[in-house]
């Protein structure tokens, strides 16, 4: 396992300066992230942060009545637990593994200390926060204005960018929770995309057949989020 996984697979960790690396890397712990695992619930006090390397974690906002909608996806470009260094302690969202894989886990205190050194890492984390803000704002707008089909395309494309393969294993229920729609809504949207030859969908497995088609069918939200994320996370 140690051969296959490397902290440099996470973009934030890969960008650490030599001295930051020296301080943090010994404390990173490789953990497995199985599909559907809940890393934390909204309102939980954060004890750890996670740096995904080949998994995808979905942040869901859960309303009082249990209805939920995805507010962002986090893969190897980011980390889960930004509330910790922004000073909020508890998290407003639920974090759930949406595509299985691995992540590096760090004790919250250690990240906080590093953040407050006001160095290179702090700048990176703040820029990542801005990328997340953009993604959330865009998602709010997308939820309001775009069809379930378009949203499914956006979600598939954002997920694909965070994976090394073009196959996603997902339950229909999980997708429904992400998009904040009924399961029938997902079936219908996935059926449409399948008919158009963009994806193949069966028993919770989605294979993307034609990525370009998916991009054409998608609303602009995917491109906006991708462009902004790339811009903010590339070295200034």
């Amino acid at each position: 396992m140690a051969l296959r996984h490397d902290h440099n697979q996470n973009r934030l960790l890969a960008a650490l300066s030599p001295i930051e690396r020296e301080r943090l890397v010994p404390h990173l712990k490789l953990v497995s992230m199985p599909l559907g695992k809940v890393l934390y619930e909204s309102g939980n006090v954060l004890s750890h942060v996670y740096f995904p390397i080949d998994c995808i974690v979905s942040l869901l906002y859960v309303l009082e009545d249990g209805a939920s909608a995805e507010i962002s996806v986090v893969g190897n470009e980011g980390l889960i637990g930004i509330a910790l260094f922004m000073g909020g302690e508890t998290t407003p969202s639920r974090a759930i593994v949406q595509s299985a894989g691995h992540a590096y886990r760090l004790i919250g205190r250690q990240l906080k200390d590093e953040f407050h050194r006001s160095g290179h890492m702090q700048m990176r984390l703040l820029r990542y926060t801005q990328a997340l803000i953009t993604q959330m704002a865009q998602t709010a707008v997308c939820n309001r204005h775009h069809s379930v089909d378009q949203q499914l395309c956006r979600w598939l494309l954002l997920s694909l960018d965070r994976l090394s393969s073009s196959k996603l294993t997902m339950t229909q229920e999980l997708i429904a929770n992400m998009l904040g729609v009924r399961r029938e809504g997902v079936t219908e949207a996935a059926g449409k995309l399948q008919k158009l030859g963009a994806i193949r969908y069966s028993r919770g497995k989605i294979a993307v057949l034609d990525r370009q088609k998916l991009e054409r069918l998608c609303c602009e939200c995917y491109a906006v989020v991708k462009k902004e994320t790339d811009r903010l996370l590339s070295p200034p």
Binding site: L59, Y61, V62, L63, E64, A67, S68, A69, E70, I71, I82, A83, F85, M86, G87, G88, P92, S93, M123, L126, R127, T129, Q130, L132, I133, T134, M136, A137, Q138, T139, A140, V141, C142, N143, R144, H145, G180, C219, E220, C221, E228, L232
Partner: protein, 235 residues
């Protein structure tokens, strides 16, 4: 804006700073009058100034598809416009448009960044504010998905009231529709319903809140949530 007090209330973020740090910052700010519909910055533009509203309010609007848009934040004396600067990013990703005329403290981006560097209390306070904004955005994504127009309109009117420090304000249906990201007919229906419950009075673009408590009950839970989060994180 009928009942604004004559002496502008200070901005609450600045009030949360220790006295000396606040003085230092305010000495570098200038007090400006923001006019209705003034555009402070646009997506893709460099943010030249940070604003701390005193009794004005600023709408943050995400553009989409060239026409339909949605308000993703409303900044009044509880907040600041230009938080990207706090995150080390100079470029704006939303429109910032003055929604409620009034006063604000203004600081140019360079001085703001210098101040942020030397003033640890300000940094801490604004990082916490960013955390609050993140929570609000997350909530907005769920709210726009699940809550009905009437409840969202009620919430929006209360938020505007809090920032305008007045129970009456001027607002057209078109503007409301634009902010809430719904059709004009939807806003008209919702406003008529709130009026028939005697919660608001609406005529020719002038809105008066008649029953605050009632309107709070009609609003979605997001209104109370935003208040609570702010109070627990900032104060």
């Amino acid at each position: 804006m009928g009942q604004t007090s004559r002496r502008p209330s200070p901005n609450r973020l600045l009030s949360a700073l220790p006295g000396r740090e606040r003085q230092h910052l305010l000495a570098r700010c200038e007090e400006v009058q923001l006019r209705f519909a003034d555009v402070l910055y646009e997506p893709g533009e460099r943010i030249r100034q940070a604003y701390f509203p005193i009794d004005s309010s600023i709408s943050l609007i995400t553009p989409i598809d060239g026409h339909a848009r949605l308000e993703v934040g409303l900044v009044g004396d509880e907040g600041m416009a230009g938080i990207s600067l706090v995150l080390g990013v100079s470029e704006a990703h939303t429109h910032a448009v003055v929604q409620g005329a009034g006063a604000a403290w203004r600081l140019d981006a360079k001085s703001f960044k210098d101040e942020l560097k030397r003033n640890a209390a300000l940094r801490l306070c604004l990082h916490r504010y960013v955390y609050v904004v993140l929570g609000q955005l997350a909530r907005a994504a769920a709210c726009t998905r699940f809550h009905v127009v009437e409840a969202r309109l009620a919430r929006w009117l209360l938020m505007t009231r809090d920032r305008a420090h007045s129970n009456s304000f001027y607002m057209t249906h078109d503007f409301l529709a634009y902010m809430l990201g719904v059709r004009r007919a939807g806003v008209t229906r919702a406003a008529t319903s709130l009026q028939s419950q005697r919660l608001i009075r609406y005529s020719r673009g002038s809105i008066t809140i008649r029953d605050s408590r009632g309107l709070e009950a009609a609003a979605c839970s997001c209104y109370a949530y935003a208040k609570q989060t702010y109070d627990s994180v900032i104060n």
